[in-house]
């Protein structure tokens, strides 16, 4: 595309490949632009944007209470991001994080329930035995629940977006059924919450954080290695780049799509395990479980912004984990209008996705006189490149 303004021409072209620093720069610019835009809104409601942002950063990243919260939320978002990244590497969309998260969570609580955690909360249960079992149950349930959509996609070409969305609804109602008044997982106070885990069955902590946080960082490295270096990772990437070439190479479409959704579901199940069994003050399926399900969709945005790179997803997840908690705190502290925290998050997401899209293009300004030559250069390379 080209536009001529005065003696100059602006040319916009799709970049052949986008480098990692261009992506990173785009994200930083997106953050700055968002802060500026939302800043206008803050001024309109009579707040000083700089003070607002200082409060958010102070709370989310510098306070003793806020920082662990940021990290725990970021871990949750990051795992949800892995749940979307793996299928997306195979060209498939997993929108089923909430369903898979709660499949894992329910399974973990189911194991605790089977060991009598609900009634015997006072007695000491063998955590060293039960917690690993709960972990395996959470991973397996998430994986199986995810695999349903993958198998249907691979075998019968059922649209995976539709399936995972529907599976979300099904699972949210199952959760509602389990924790309702009189439901098997009902909490003792019966106020629409699940029962609280006894201390022996909670995820152990290390340096003030649940160990699942450290495990997630290791998972980011492992997942990167898995996708880049293993045979299965290769097959996933091949299928994602070109299903027809994958078929030529003997890569089974049903197996790959089932595998990626099972893996995605596994990460989602782990997200549930981390948040509902590991975060201090939670240790149960809380009343606002639906909101937490929605919160996993930040994983989707994170995956897209990180361009399917598990390690690049870490800073993005920390940003969303921090801003979501910090903005809520700031809103209360400065007594600002309800929903302004969501406005900030929403603008951030839109800008980051938009800047990622824009980073695919290069923009050049040049003297209009040279335009005729450059315009044809573009056409030439399409048909016959003189370089080869």
């Amino acid at each position: 595309m080209r536009a001529v303004i005065g003696g100059y021409a602006i040319r916009i072209e799709r970049r052949a490949d986008v480098r990692w620093w261009q992506t990173a720069l785009a994200s930083v610019l997106a953050i700055l632009v968002s802060l500026f835009l939302v800043g206008i809104a803050f001024v309109r409601v009579g707040a000083d944007p700089l003070e607002v942002y200082r409060e958010i950063v102070n709370y989310a990243f510098l306070s003793q209470f806020g920082l662990p919260q940021t990290i725990n939320r970021a871990t949750y978002v990051l795992l949800a991001a892995f749940a979307i990244i793996v299928p997306l590497r195979a060209g498939l969309w997993n929108i089923g994080m909430p369903g898979q998260i709660f499949a894992g969570t329910l399974a973990a609580f189911g194991v605790a329930y089977a060991f009598g955690a609900k009634t015997a909360s006072a007695t000491e249960l063998p955590g060293a035995l039960v917690v690993p079992l709960m972990l395996v149950a959470a991973l397996a349930a998430g994986a199986v629940y995810g695999a349903i959509a993958g198998f249907l996609r691979g075998r019968f070409q059922v649209n995976e977006i539709v399936t995972t969305m529907m599976l979300n609804w099904a699972m949210l109602w199952i959760v509602a059924h389990m924790i309702r008044e009189g439901g098997p997982f009902m909490g003792r106070t019966a106020e629409g919450e699940g029962f609280t885990l006894p201390t022996s069955l909670r995820v152990p902590q290390a340096f003030g954080l649940p160990v699942t946080v450290y495990a997630t960082v290791i998972l980011a490295l492992l997942l990167t290695w898995f996708l880049a270096k293993t045979t299965l990772g290769y097959r996933i990437r091949t299928f994602g780049e070109s299903p027809r070439a994958a078929e030529y190479a003997g890569i089974d479409a049903t197996r790959v799509s089932t595998l990626v959704f099972a893996l995605g579901g596994l990460f989602a199940g782990f997200a549930g395990f981390h948040y509902f069994l590991g975060v201090p003050g939670v240790y149960k399926i809380p009343k606002n479980y639906g909101d937490l399900g929605d919160f996993s969709f930040y994983g989707l945005i994170t995956g897209l912004i990180a361009r399917n790179n598990p390690i690049a997803a870490i800073p993005v997840a920390i940003l969303f984990g921090g801003v979501s908690g910090g903005a809520r705190f700031m809103q209360g502290k400065l007594r600002l209008a309800f929903g302004i925290d969501y406005a900030l998050l929403g603008v951030l997401m839109i800008m980051m996705v938009a800047f990622q899209a824009l980073a695919q293009f290069s923009l050049r300004i040049e003297r209009a006189a040279t335009v005729a030559a450059t315009q044809v250069e573009r056409g030439e390379s399409r048909v016959e490149s003189p370089h080869h």
Partner: protein, 515 residues
């Protein structure tokens, strides 16, 4: 109704280009090119991919402006601002890719965009004129058929007629023979010759198909690396001289078939029925065998069942009925990987869609045929070092021009990419090789290389099924030739008895041998 022709100008220079130079950055795509085209002649422009043909073509019909040099039409200096401007001066262009609207009829497509077309179409008058135009040059197209129903050859004719109807007197054609069957090629060139006789100048740009140039064109200008390296009358030329000028060295045009003692049958196909994507039987009861050390050439016009047959053999398309035996083992319904393990090799038609992944490195592309082998996947981890070594070996052995094994496949030219694909497949020493259009779109040098490698494979005892639309290639390489038409063999002929005419007629469905 018919346009009055000026008195014959045959032999007069109608189009002249002098010193055309065009640079793209540091690359000189056209370097002081001179071209003289006379009325009444078919003047071919010959050159390999990247020789500067496309650039010259675009300059001649106004899509590009030259950096230096002038263009003269009937002795007048002209400067085209756009393709439309060029057409106003009587220069028409028929591209390789079609620019027609599939849902409209041929007639509507031809009329579309004509200056006389007003808000209300008077198609009847236009139809009379167009019919007269077609009759005069022997073009036969169903004017009222929708374009999507037409064959590739017919679509091309629609575009030619469209250019004529819009007033073209000089017609530039980009690779006009690339999509046609031999009889269609003959028909088209006869019509073009007839047109040329009526004072047109026809300028086909051609990469391959040297025989066509020699047989039908009057004059040829040969480009290499952006320069004119030769200009001659075709009656003074031979295929050898043309190819040597194009490539810059002596080229063996038709690699010689090698006689190898033919072994036992490797592949046995009997009564094979395969459906295409629309659910129709594209392969209808084919039976054949291919022996070790034998090349069976499958000659046919595109779309007569070759693709579904190859895909069924490779395991990419289900077999409805019949059987495929590979070394006596029934693989009719075997998964793809089992076939590869049993010694199948497959070079698909679509190099960039199926045979390779453009965004992958060459190493990862080589792995397409190796990721399932234990030596390349230890404990589920890819043996990248080994894959890299293999890729380097292929690059060296096949003289692939690439930045290295980590170069992306999309950075390679078609010929180099095909070498990588072929090298990768042949490095598995297949028992049975299916090669689909292995030299299609390749320049002379690369095509020769690929053909040699196919013969090497045959010499090594591989049974080869060569699927090609290039009859010369089939005739040169095959030991036996099967002609396919609408999913059935119209004949299977030993190479010693095959002539171009016979196979041409068989593949056009005009005659049928007992199979």
């Amino acid at each position: 109704m018919t346009r009055a022709l000026p008195e014959s100008r045959a032999g007069r220079v109608v189009l002249e280009a002098r010193g055309i130079t065009k640079r793209f950055g540091s690359v000189v795509a056209n370097d002081r090119i001179d071209l003289t085209v006379r009325a009444g002649e078919l003047h071919a422009i010959l050159g390999e991919n990247g020789a500067g043909k496309t650039t010259l073509m675009r300059i001649l019909f106004g899509e590009l402006q030259p950096d230096e040099g002038e263009i003269y039409l009937d002795g007048q200096r002209v400067r085209f601002r756009s393709p439309r401007d060029a057409l106003r001066h009587g220069i028409g262009m028929v591209h390789q890719e079609r620019k027609l609207i599939p849902a409209h009829t041929a007639l509507e497509n031809i009329v579309l965009g004509h200056p006389r077309t007003k808000a209300i179409l008077d198609l009847r008058e236009a139809e009379r004129e167009i019919e007269a135009l077609c009759a005069r040059y022997g073009f036969r197209i169903p004017l009222h058929a929708k374009v999507w129903q037409l064959s590739e050859g017919e679509k091309q004719i629609v575009e030619i007629v469209k250019e004529l109807y819009h007033g073209a007197r000089i017609l530039i054609l980009d690779e006009p023979t690339s999509v046609l069957s031999p009889p269609e090629i003959v028909k088209l060139l006869e019509s073009l010759t007839k047109m040329a006789k009526e004072d047109f100048a026809v300028i086909p740009f051609i990469t391959h198909k040297l025989p066509v140039v020699l047989e039908y064109c009057d004059r040829v200008t040969i480009l290499r690396r952006g320069r004119v390296v030769a200009e001659m009358e075709t009656r003074h030329a031979t295929e050898q001289t043309l190819a040597a000028a194009m490539v810059g060295r002596d080229v063996v045009l038709q690699v010689e078939r090698v006689e190898v003692p033919v072994g036992e049958p490797v592949v046995r196909v009997s009564d094979l029925w395969v459906r295409d994507d629309r659910g129709l039987f594209a392969v209808q009861g084919l039976s054949f065998e291919v022996r070790a050390g034998e090349i069976l050439g499958l000659a046919g016009v595109a779309g007569n069942g070759q693709e579904p047959l190859a895909e069924a053999l490779a395991g990419l398309r289900p077999v409805e009925r019949g059987s495929i035996l590979l070394d006596g083992v029934d693989i009719t319904h075997a998964p793809v990987l089992e076939r590869w393990r049993r010694g199948l090799g497959y070079v698909p038609t679509e190099r960039r869609e199926v045979g390779s992944i453009p965004s992958f490195s060459l190493v990862d592309n080589v792995l397409l045929n190796y990721h399932f082998e234990p030596e390349f996947s230890r404990w589920g981890v890819l043996a990248t070092g080994r894959a890299r070594e293999l890729t380097e070996r292929i690059i060296a052995e096949y003289s692939v021009v690439a930045a290295g094994p980590e170069a992306l496949a999309k950075s390679l030219s078609g010929g180099n990419l095909q070498k990588v694909i072929l090298g990768r497949v042949l490095s598995r020493h297949p028992r049975f090789l299916i090669a689909c259009l292995p030299t299609h779109g390749l320049d002379v040098g690369a095509a020769e290389f690929v053909q040699r490698k196919l013969l090497d494979a045959k010499r090594a005892g591989t049974a080869v099924l060569l699927i090609s639309e290039d009859l010369d290639e089939i005739l040169a390489l095959s030991d036996r030739i099967a002609a396919i038409y609408e999913g059935q063999f119209t004949g299977v002929v030993p190479a010693s008895e095959a002539t171009k005419e016979l196979i041409g007629e068989l593949m056009a469905g005009l005659r049928r041998e007992r199979v």
